[in-house]
């Protein structure tokens, strides 16, 4: 049996998390190959619809990364993200999908190491959950 490698989608804000991911790269911090970063201007532009859509289509985990609270390039953008994503998690839980498949975290432009840590931890956690049960479900 081959080891399960989850497929993960990550939204990173342009100003902090994407820069943090770049720093992780520049620092050659090694991490699993499962994560696919989509650049957005602010974590607050990540529509919950994207997360729902990705999970529904079988993506094993979705990461939403933004600036630390107080550091948002758009003042209070990430405040909205912090409000919305927990609702997404609860709805997933309510239909029986593990809410740990969606994670919200804050990574600053200086936190290459934190980016590596978040990616590695999340990949491990989702790998433990196993494949997204919706992958195999034909509606």
């Amino acid at each position: 049996m081959t080891e399960f490698k989850p497929t993960i989608l990550a939204f990173c804000c342009n100003w902090c998390s994407y820069a943090g991911a770049d720093l992780a790269g520049v620092s050659r911090l090694q991490m699993p190959t499962n994560v696919h970063v989509v650049r957005v201007m602010c974590s607050a532009s990540v529509k919950p619809e994207y997360v729902m859509k990705a999970i529904s289509q079988g993506i094993d985990g979705v990461l939403v990364l933004g600036c630390h609270i107080g550091d948002c390039h758009y003042m209070t953008g990430n405040h909205r993200t912090a409000k919305r994503i927990p609702v997404v998690q609860k709805i997933l839980k309510d239909v029986g999908i593990d809410e740990k498949r969606v994670r919200l975290d804050w990574v600053s432009a200086a936190e290459g190491e934190k980016f590596q840590k978040v990616i590695t931890e999340f990949v491990d956690e989702v790998a433990k959950l196993g494949p997204n049960p919706l992958r195999e479900v034909a509606f």
Partner: protein, 245 residues
Amino acid sequence: MREEHGNVAPVMIAKGEDPGDVRTDVPYQLMTILSNLYPWMSDGKKIAVLTRRCDEKALAEIFKRGYFDRARIVQIGLACSKEQIAACRCSDPVPSTVDIGEPHAGVGSDALSEKLMNMSSEERLRFWIYQFRKCNKCFACTANCPVCFCDECVLEERTFVPERGVPPGMSFHLIRAYHLADKCIECGECERSCPAGIPLLTFRKLVAKDFRDMYKFSPGDDKNVSPLLTTLEGEALEGDECNEC
């Protein structure tokens, strides 16, 4: 409402008309109908409407968004019957003023919600997949919803609901649940109008409970802004400190 040809349907009565034999014992989502009629009732005159507690909350959500002129709406408070309260598993059935009917206490719980939350997540998922497979995407749930305000629904498009045919996948229901998270007033009209018998009110109640637990917010109160639209000022967040700086 009035009974005609064996069906009970909403009726509009103009000032001075004889109301005749009206019925108030059949649940009906009058606020949705009023929302559809409102743009055509441009004479500025007052509109009286039969209002249950859930309708009152729907009105609050409508007022908050500026869709109705508050001054034009006169509420005729209707207290729901015991049977109706039981059917809606309604915990908050008494309107602020009762003009018709006897007020009865609400019921505390929704048996199905409790059963579902006691299941393992695998079982719960199996339950919902079974239910959602029955969906034939008729949009009765959105069309009859008093707090669905869009003319055309985004779920009709394939941007977020990629399935070409019927049934739509999970995203259809998840996204609708998210859209309603801060405005569903638990009237149960979606469940009543669903031809496939999907227990949509139970799904709404599960999300509403989570939302209440998280944000101490229940829709249907026109004084409080949805937490999804406010910032975190003054709210404590855990684990948000940047350890690097």
